[in-house]
């Protein structure tokens, strides 16, 4: 009996015991701007100006930007550069074949990138926020750029004129797993050439962009959450009524 109780207790702890530590570049937490319309609009501007040249967001229509407070005219005069219509999908002039030749890989479609990059380590926005701030100059790479979060990434630093150029500093350390062996461990980024924005401004700009990417991953998310409150409240009321109705039938059962 006691033995069984012990087994039960031990087994109950199992899920906690089997938790596995994850190694990798730590993710910074992206500020939550998912309901900040000004941030989303600025993010849309950065996205169209810097990302859409190579990446597509082919599930997304420009006209959907009306959901974050833009008008048809604002979209037309600020975000459409090559004769697209407001109702068009966000495609890119870069063909997959060209991209393969120029960068070695076709840039992924960004429609749902924020959802795809979620993991146990952090949300998709955290990943993107960290990624876009972790590019550094690396002359061994064909593009001259490398990334701490996504080593040997094919993408060059598209926002470099905003952030400027930074290098990564590494220090030599003992390998934790193999004594006597040395490993290179990242210590910090160092700015070589300043960009148009200060580091704080750049972080904020990326936060806006990432908030936009998150919104674009599911444009209906605002509606979903707002409607959800009412649906759940209504159902709670309904269950209260159903509960009393049920009780009124069952009180006659002896």
């Amino acid at each position: 009996m006691k033995f069984l109780t012990k087994i039960v207790a031990t087994l109950a702890l199992l899920p906690a015991l089997v938790f596995a530590g994850e190694e990798g570049f730590p993710l910074d937490h992206a500020p939550d701007r998912s309901t900040d319309l000004a941030a989303l609009q600025n993010g849309a501007k950065v996205f169209v100006n810097y990302c859409l040249n190579c990446h597509s967001a082919s599930s997304m229509r420009y006209s959907r930007l009306k959901d974050i407070g833009l008008t048809d005219d604002q979209i037309r005069s600020n975000l459409l550069f090559a004769g697209e219509k407001v109702g068009d999908l966000m495609t890119t002039p870069l063909t997959k074949a060209d991209a393969k030749v120029w960068f070695g890989a076709a840039p992924p479609d960004l429609s749902v990138i924020a959802r795809a990059k979620s993991s146990e380590a952090g949300s998709g926005t955290d990943w993107l926020y960290t990624y876009l701030r972790s590019f550094y100059k690396d002359d061994t790479r064909p593009t001259g750029w490398n990334n701490m979060l996504f080593p040997s990434v094919a993408m060059p630093h598209a926002l470099w004129e905003l952030q400027g150029v930074q290098t990564a500093k590494f220090v030599e350390k003992e390998d934790e797993h193999e004594p006597g062996k040395k490993v290179q461990v990242f210590s910090k980024f160092e700015t070589v050439t300043p960009g148009k924005l200060t580091p704080a401004q750049y972080d904020s700009e990326v936060a806006d962009l990432v908030a936009y990417l998150q919104w674009m991953g599911e444009p209906a998310q605002g509606t979903r959450k707002q409607l959800g409150v009412w649906v759940v409240l209504w159902l709670i009321m309904l269950s209260f009524l159903a509960w009393r109705l049920n009780a009124s039938y069952w009180k006659e059962v002896k």
């Binding site: 039960v8 087994l11 596995a20 429609s111 979620s118 444009p219 979903r224 649906v231 309904l238 069952w250």
Partner: protein
């Protein structure tokens, strides 16, 4: 026999006349009364008895939302992924329909697992309800097939590689394996051909079988009558009208009872649909937002959570673990020899099978992958044997020795732990834990004929335990 038209007075309400007309030609009223209206169910049902009607509700949700999804979804490898996003963005209320369907899939399994846990606690599969259990088991198999085929349709990376891994399992079968998996896929890799046939299975073949089985499950249940938390046959004590004293007609009592259950369930269901449709990557896996790519294998491929307990058993079966299994099989054959009164011909047959398996597990025999598939499959199939494995003199856990409930709790914890491990990347520690879990999982079932009959049982009352509300 001559046809007799049911005659109603000329001034009877039209609706009654219409019903009379139908009843003379089709047993509508009789069906309703047999299956629900005059079906006497035990009055002492508790929380655990809500999952049958909830499963029915979710089945309806899945079928109705599924119909609308099919209107907009494109079963074509080059269009499928984008068509799901089209549903999420451009189809009015498409996001709601899609989230209801994806959440419904997971809800279905949660409900069915709890429904089965109930059967385990109260011995609901015991005589005379063996067929109710077997039909239910077949429904569970269909549900797994339905979920597996359906999961390929969004055509994301997890869809694609999950299907690839599972179809490849068939390749482990000796001789016919590789041809069999080729035949299932219709191509050398999972491709457009696979997507099309999985779509066909998901929207037509399996649902048809599923609906038939659900009917059989209910007809069988209403024929023998429901079990209850006391595990007492209420038909043994009848009142003057021939109705069970401890039963109530399902309508209105369980109609309103179940409506209440449904509303509470819908609160939880809606909370997930509206606020956490991805459920932290368990209901909608993050990697499935990346379109399928046959050239990029994800680092970590995990099936959706409802398959992972069985998947863990598959992964636990390493060539090292085969040695444990061989000892286990030898010991089990020994146990059957010493502790059962089976005819010696049966015993010899069992020993022969045991010997064949042990030979097959030798290093020069079949590889661990094949045995993993065998264990994976049999860990599901073994559920069908429950009515015959359980030898307890009483049905309900309430009147069984206290330690029997600890055994059930251990089993439940092992099942959940195996499920959790199946979602995680493999590691040596995880492997060891899932091997222990596998041994406990099989031990629970294979030793049930013995442990379920051991201990001091409490006397079972004649009447059910019921406190009027």
């Amino acid at each position: 026999m001559a046809f007799i038209e049911k005659k109603l007075p000329a001034d009877a309400p039209v609706i009654e006349k219409a019903l009379g007309w139908v009843d003379s030609r089709f047993p509508l009223t009789k069906l309703w009364n047999d299956q629900w209206g005059q079906y006497y169910a035990p009055k002492n049902f508790n929380f655990w008895y809500i999952f049958g009607s909830l499963a029915m509700l979710v089945l309806v949700i899945q079928i109705v939302t599924g119909i609308f999804l099919v209107m907009h979804y494109k079963p074509d490898a080059s269009l499928a992924f984008a068509s799901v996003e089209y549903i999420m963005r451009e189809v009015p209320w498409g996001w709601l329909v899609r989230y209801m369907h994806s959440t419904g899939a997971s809800a279905f399994f949660i409900i069915i697992y709890l429904h089965m846990a109930r059967a385990l606690m109260y011995g609901s599969y015991r005589k005379p309800r063996e067929l109710v259990w077997l039909f239910g088991f077949a429904i569970f198999l269909c549900l797994m097939a339905e979920a597996f085929f359906g999961y390929l349709l969004p055509w994301g990376q997890m869809s694609y590689w999950g299907a690839q891994v599972i179809v490849n399992l068939f390749g482990a079968i000796p001789f016919i394996g590789p041809d069999l998996s080729l035949w299932i896929r219709g191509d050398y890799v999972v491709s457009d051909a696979t997507l099309n046939r999985f779509f066909s299975f998901h929207v037509i073949a399996i649902p048809l079988v599923l609906l038939g089985l659900v009917m059989a499950h209910l007809i069988a249940l209403h024929e023998v009558g429901s079990n209850n938390p006391d595990g007492i046959e209420i038909k043994d004590t009848l009142d003057a009208n021939g109705h069970p004293v401890d039963g109530v007609p399902s309508h209105p009592y369980y109609t309103f009872h179940d409506i209440f259950g449904v509303t509470v369930f819908l609160v939880i269901f809606s909370a997930v649909v509206f606020f956490a449709p991805e459920m932290g990557g368990y209901f909608l896996e993050y990697n499935n937002f990346v379109p399928a790519d046959s050239l990029k294998t994800p680092l970590h491929i995990a099936p959706t959570w409802y398959f992972t307990p069985f998947y863990s058993i598959l992964r636990a079966t390493t060539s090292e673990f085969l040695r444990v299994l061989m000892v286990g099989i030898a010991a089990y054959v020994g146990l059957i020899y010493l502790k059962t009164k089976l005819p010696s011909i049966v015993k010899i047959a069992i020993a022969g099978i045991g010997l064949l398996i042990i030979l097959g597990m030798q290093p020069w025999g079949l590889d661990a992958k094949f045995w993993g598939v065998v264990l994976f499959g049999s860990s599901v199939m073994i559920l069908a044997g429950l009515p015959w494995l359980d030898r307890s003199p009483v049905k309900s856990i309430r009147y069984r020795p206290m330690w029997h409930s600890y055994v059930l709790i251990v089993f439940a914890i092992v099942f959940v732990t195996l499920g959790y491990l199946g979602t995680q990347p493999p590691s040596p520690t995880h492997e060891r834990i899932s091997q222990v879990g596998t041994v406990i999982y099989y031990g629970f079932f294979l030793l049930m004929p013995w442990w379920s009959a051991m201990g001091t049982f409490k006397p079972v009352p004649k009447r059910v335990t019921f406190k009027p509300h």
